[in-house]
Symmetry: C2
Amino acid sequence: MPSRTGPPPAAPALRPREDHGPTDRIALSAATGRGAHLRTEDVHAWLAERRRAHAFHVERIPFAELDEWRFEDGTGNLMHRSGRFFTVEGMHVVEHDGPRGDGPRREWQQPVISQPEVGILGILAKEFDGVLHFLMQAKMEPGNPNLLQLSPTVQATRSNYTKAHRGTDVKLIDHFVRPDPDRVLVDVLQSEQGSWFFRKSNRNMIVETEDEIPAQDDFRWLTLGQIAALLHEDDLVNMNARTVLSCVPYRDTAPGALLSDIQLLSWFTGERSRRDVRARRVPLASVHGWKHGTEAIEREDGRYFKVVAVSVRAGNREVVRWTQPLIEPVGLGVTAFLVREVDGVPHVLVQARAEGGLLDTVELAPTVQCTPGNHAHLPAADRPPFLDAVLGAPASRIRYEAVHSEEGGRFLNARSRYLLVTADPDGAALDPPSGYTWATPAQLSTLTRHGHYLNVESRTLLACLNAMTATPPREGI
Amino acid sequence: MPSRTGPPPAAPALRPREDHGPTDRIALSAATGRGAHLRTEDVHAWLAERRRAHAFHVERIPFAELDEWRFEDGTGNLMHRSGRFFTVEGMHVVEHDGPRGDGPRREWQQPVISQPEVGILGILAKEFDGVLHFLMQAKMEPGNPNLLQLSPTVQATRSNYTKAHRGTDVKLIDHFVRPDPDRVLVDVLQSEQGSWFFRKSNRNMIVETEDEIPAQDDFRWLTLGQIAALLHEDDLVNMNARTVLSCVPYRDTAPGALLSDIQLLSWFTGERSRRDVRARRVPLASVHGWKHGTEAIEREDGRYFKVVAVSVRAGNREVVRWTQPLIEPVGLGVTAFLVREVDGVPHVLVQARAEGGLLDTVELAPTVQCTPGNHAHLPAADRPPFLDAVLGAPASRIRYEAVHSEEGGRFLNARSRYLLVTADPDGAALDPPSGYTWATPAQLSTLTRHGHYLNVESRTLLACLNAMTATPPREGI
């Protein structure tokens, strides 16, 4: 990085298109399990202390008790009086030709969160003792089951960062709104949940600094090795931190992959071309199959999710009390990659998955991504492929398992078991069906340089995979 | 390419993620100016002969004489009775915060072509005398000023290739519908004109074959060197051929670039994040500022484009006679890259350009992309940036110039001067304004592996740039 040794030269000069300096420094941080500021084993105590320091309180309320939110006349859309934040609307999805390109037409309606603005999820990085550390925040989000989790340095909507604001977050966000081009490690727009959001994306960033950053109670510097260890804990590293971490550039040291990069992209292009998914927003009031109660909007059969409302009191937020709607999924999800080694190189089974809220038809998803309860009434042949293989895997085949929460600012108790499971060497996965293929973690990592490839669930699993590789196996795992 | 030496092995085996074999063979084809089958200087005679062999006749007709097309009751959308092909609808675009992120809100309505299906633009490649040749078709499109131009091997809508069909095109398309993964050179979804299409993309493909391909009067094998020479001619290589050719992978032999790849992507992410463009389809009948006549739908001030109708008679198409609507732009466009060398490495000035019909806000566009007549009434300061620099450039600064047509199946006489112009060494371009940056052709080439980056106009210019590099300069250019 030229700027690390002085100011940029006055005359324009070429630089290499690929700079391997950052990947080497990232590898060092990933291999460093002991941080310069806080021991990993003391993170829990710090989080517990922050939880006590803020008097967080969240309770469910009926929609009628929402302060600034109302159901709009006519459309029934649930929106904030200011028009800011987000809106709960309806979505109508039609998939022509069915999920495999040759099946029947599928069509459904559902509520969806519409939030067209691009937010920033930014992690600040800085070297201490020659090792990159990352500034993580102990942040409360009302939908988290334990309220407070480890989050990026900043999580900001466009309204947050374009409008005048008080507080320390604002100073930190300057590093991301106008980043120093010589210090950007990650900067990419990535999608959020296509089942719950309508075409939402956020700017995932990691920016390095040499500035003096004042110590603050809610922020701590951790190495990638420390964060990797914490990714083995339930409900600790929040979704926004996981998606940013999934984009960290690791160098590929494997000799190759089952498919070359061109072959993988060609397969993906074929999948995106043959799926014909068309989604549009419709008024929430017109959504078929959902009933509007005083405390929830939910499906008549009770499946998938509900729209609910909560009241929040907190001490460290811009406002001391607020109310807001949240999406509450029904049941614990299962999100898993089947894994196998080919000539010693790990591969994961990815799925080209259509979700109504994705901007461009399909993205790469985990082998299994569902809530089993939603499919329990179906005969085995109609359940999601590989679900039974994952749920029935013996403990010896489970390489990684942790329960993580989805974004607590929009989702209430949205938890999923994230799993990496060794594929049955005699199973169907070795000759995957249409819509599935094997790729290496390094190939997925390369794709995170760009948007529209990995969905947010596969990015969480990629962060977990990187954490597996980066840290020595811990006892009992 | 493992399959070139035999069938794939039974056991899975790793392959390198990047295979440099194809780029070497592509470089050889680009350096080969003499084809195995047809001399470049004989291409004109062949095209003239094909033009005579087919009795092409296109004439303008009033909308009332359209056979299978009608204005839908209520919406006024212009659609085919079968629901297939495409629809002319309305589009409402709102850009918040203005084009530079800090200006006023812009808002407009216009007709737009809606064609949600993904088509295939495929070029078949095959080695003759050890050199890759590409199978080009002499294809009539009713909107081309000279009707017949050089096109990809196949241009097919999804309806074309999923339904039973007769004719030779069908056999050729099998190479693209189920491509041999070991023989794919290019396979990527790319956008089409964001000013005229609503979120249209096509699958750009080059697939190699060793099959015997029967000779046909409308098809000829040409090397990349031959096609490069032909790209210097006006109205000869059609838009679909140009976009596929822009995706050909050339190896980067330059030592670097002004911005590293990460910096370029970060700049692009910033541009896409700060632009807030929201477009939706509206009924054609409701579009403000456009008047519906018997022969044209056009703006009240006559600018931009018209919707018109034509009658077509042709001998080599699936049907012998048909009528259809076309979009007819008003005036000759100007599409130009400013070019400069940095330490001997050429760079072009790209623009992050918002177009209402693009799927994701902005794509990389040429320095100048407009029809000057649409801006002639404006004071100089309000005209598109760098337009005057391009139009006023002395002949000595013009490195490349040719008039090319846009897709003749949808656009009537849509022609633009494509230019590569050396930047004024004292001009404003050296310190580009917000929304513009310098990138190397090799960087743009790398980005064509993915969709949503280069718009179709910059892809044409990239194909021209590659043609400049690939062929020795010809006399008089």
